[in-house]
């Protein structure tokens, strides 16, 4: 421990002595980020073009389980801890994260949708977040009321309210299925994480 302290102090003191002129933090208020006449429409377009996700519009009160069946009719094992979702695996109660690898479909709740790039903020609200990544396919539920224009607005929400960084110390923006272009630049969906994503807008 002694040694760690000395390394830290040495680094900090080098930084202090090597700092010459200093610069002020700019004001971000002057930055006028892009907004859209209809952020929900923009989000819907971007989710399909940028993200490569499927988009489904639902009405409040629609039967969630029927919707999931309709989206992924061949789904065997469904993993979710959302109330009302009929799931065979619950990320709150599985013995270990590895168990979620067998999930055909994970169903999770998005808290913010971002129109400029189709990002959806998923705070970890389950014990094992592997459900968001290891499931073969993903259904993300999102309320239209929670769609913002751009990342500045999204991070402002996350910064201002605890509800966007919930029970566990993790959150992620997901914009669609896992993808790669590492083999000769050819775009392929389904690299390591979810092969397909459907966003259900309520």
């Amino acid at each position: 421990m002694e040694e760690t302290m000395s390394t830290k102090e040495a680094i900090l003191s080098r930084l202090r002595s090597n700092t010459r002129e200093t610069y002020d933090m700019p004001s971000l208020k002057a930055l006028h980020a892009i907004t859209y006449p209809d952020p929900v429409e923009e989000f819907k377009t971007k989710a399909q073009t940028v993200g490569g996700a499927r988009l489904l519009e639902a009405k409040k009160g629609d039967d969630l389980n029927a919707l999931i069946c309709q989206i992924y009719s061949d789904a065997g094992i469904i993993a979710s801890n959302l109330p009302g979702v009929e799931a065979q695996l619950n990320p709150d109660t599985v013995a270990q994260a590895q168990d979620l690898e067998t999930a055909d479909v994970g169903v999770i709740q998005g808290h913010i949708g971002v129109a400029e790039n189709a990002c959806v903020w998923i705070p970890q609200t389950m014990k094992e977040r592997a459900v968001c990544f290891a499931s073969q396919r993903l259904v993300i539920l999102l309320s239209k009321e929670n769609i913002v224009n751009n990342m500045h607005e999204a991070y402002a929400r996350i910064e201002q309210s605890d509800e966007y960084f919930c029970d566990y110390k993790f959150g992620t923006f997901i914009s669609g299925p896992s993808k790669t272009a590492d083999i000769e630049g050819a775009l392929v969906y389904g690299a390591q994480a979810a092969r397909a994503v459907t966003i259900v807008l309520f």
């Binding site: 760690t4 700019p26 980020a33 402002a156 790669t180 630049g185 690299a191 390591q192 994480a193």
Partner: protein
């Protein structure tokens, strides 16, 4: 005297088809970046803000690091400090050994390349599995990255297919599984098929590993968060299945707060790969339930760079790779022509900051076109820095003798007007020399192209007659 870069580039240029493909592949990424820039009216304002935030953070780094450490510690994260590569490698090993970890899955991190972490761990008996597809391909083929963001784009699908068939033990079983879900016949080197093979192979690694390692695109001082961006989700697979998460972070990756993060998140993927966003932008605030999270803050020369008045701005770099994609020299000479592990404009400068004597061969890899300066999201003055390094070559004992001789001659000429005018008057006589002599290897002005023709009338004469 030619530099290592120019010799390697000359060898690379012999295969025209390979060069053209490399050039076009990366220029296409540059064009995608341009479309992203044009789609945002606030683009230049965004770059200016990013530049200012990075200047501010770099010149207040000690205070932000202390704030970051305090917040991360409060969030339950173990924070370590490493002065150099050796200390960093030993901290990683100690953490892994204390948890009895035999296998590590890791997402891409240029810092671990810089510190040679993988070979250090492997020498001590720990298996390291790269999980970014490009990095995994290179690791299996025992190759180094040729680009910092798209590390294996230079490798051809046939070679990747051969590698998978010989190195992935359950290849046949995986191929059968693919046939079941995609019954149509396919080429054995089809990228979709090969990506599936890698997916199944890597999923097994995630299940078996005892620890997951990631780099950090950003560290947020105000919250203690670490942000990691990937398209494949491999950083998330690496950290949501094994319970132990180790983050390796260069101290320059720090930014003040979440408002700043918005600026950089918007720029990173747009500049790097021409996407509005990476698929995953994951924010780690603390360990998982029942898990453990460590952050290692690595200096390894960065605190010294801050004190260098001509080159401290390289600390603003967020490793997006845009400068490589646009660089005409990088595109036509590829990553392996450079002697430092990071190629392209930023790599030339970082190599010189690492060791100017060892890596001075790369400063020739620049035409001073300044395109890199214009695409850099944080406005690092890359080409000016390369120019300044070139001015120092003589004092490093690394100047080209031929060019020194020619500079001496020109200095003589330009300082003696009479002599200069006479030389100008006589220069067209050179045109009468036989081409075999003019275009021979003894004339460095005729290297790579034909010797120019001296004009009959000089600019001075034409100007006077206007």
């Amino acid at each position: 005297m030619s530099t290592q870069h120019s010799k390697a580039a000359a060898a690379y240029l012999r295969d025209e088809a390979v060069v053209t493909r490399h050039d076009q592949t990366f220029f296409a990424v540059r064009q995608k970046r341009d479309r992203m820039a044009q789609a945002l009216p606030e683009w230049e304002q965004l770059r200016e803000t990013a530049d200012q935030i990075k200047r501010h953070t770099a010149t207040h780094l000690a205070q932000y690091l202390e704030q970051f450490e305090a917040n991360a510690t409060r969030n339950g994260v173990h924070v370590h400090w490493a002065a150099d590569a050796a200390e960093y490698n030993s901290i990683v090993y100690d953490i892994l050994r204390s948890h009895d970890v035999k296998k590590v899955v890791k997402s891409k991190s240029m810092l671990t390349e810089e510190c040679h972490l993988n070979s250090s761990l492997e020498a001590k008996g720990i298996e390291v599995v790269e999980t970014d597809l490009g990095e995994r391909i290179l690791q299996m083929m025992q190759l180094a990255p040729s680009h910092i963001v798209m590390p294996a784009l230079h490798v051809h699908r046939e070679d990747i297919g051969d590698c998978f068939r010989s190195k992935i033990a359950d290849y046949d079983e995986i191929a059968k599984g693919y046939a079941a879900i995609s019954p149509e016949p396919h080429d054995e080197n089809d990228p979709t098929f090969l990506t599936y093979v890698a997916r199944m192979h890597l999923r097994r690694q995630f299940m078996e590993a005892g620890a997951g390692m990631t780099g950090a695109n950003f560290g947020v001082a105000a919250t203690g968060d670490v942000v990691v961006c990937t398209n494949e989700g491999n950083a998330d697979m690496s950290t949501s299945i094994p319970r132990l998460h180790i983050v390796s972070m260069g101290i320059e990756k720090l930014i003040p707060d979440l408002s700043s993060l918005a600026v950089f998140q918007r720029l990173l993927a747009r500049c790097g790969t021409g996407q509005e966003t990476t698929v995953y932008t994951s924010q780690f605030r603390g360990p998982r339930p029942g898990g453990e999270m460590h952050i290692i803050l690595v200096d390894n020369g960065r605190s010294e760079i801050l004190g260098n008045p001509e080159h401290w701005q390289t600390l603003k770099c967020m490793r997006c790779g845009a400068c490589m994609n646009t660089c005409p020299v990088y595109r036509r000479s590829a990553g392996y022509s450079y002697t430092y592990f990071i190629p392209g404009p930023i790599g030339i400068n970082l190599g010189m900051l690492r060791n100017p004597k060892t890596y001075s061969d790369n400063v020739s890899a620049c035409s001073l076109c300044c395109s890199c300066d214009n695409v850099c999201p944080v406005r690092v003055d890359l080409s000016s820095q390369v120019y300044r390094w070139r001015q120092q070559l003589d004092s490093l004992g690394r100047a080209d003798e031929m060019k020194k001789f020619m500079s001496g001659g020109m200095s003589l000429l330009f300082n003696h007007p009479l002599f200069y005018k006479l030389a100008l008057r006589l220069s067209p006589l050179v045109n009468w020399l036989p081409s075999s002599l003019l275009n021979s290897r003894f004339n460095p002005w005729a290297s790579g192209h034909k010797m120019m023709k001296f004009p009959k009338k000089s600019f001075h004469e034409l100007w006077k007659k206007l």
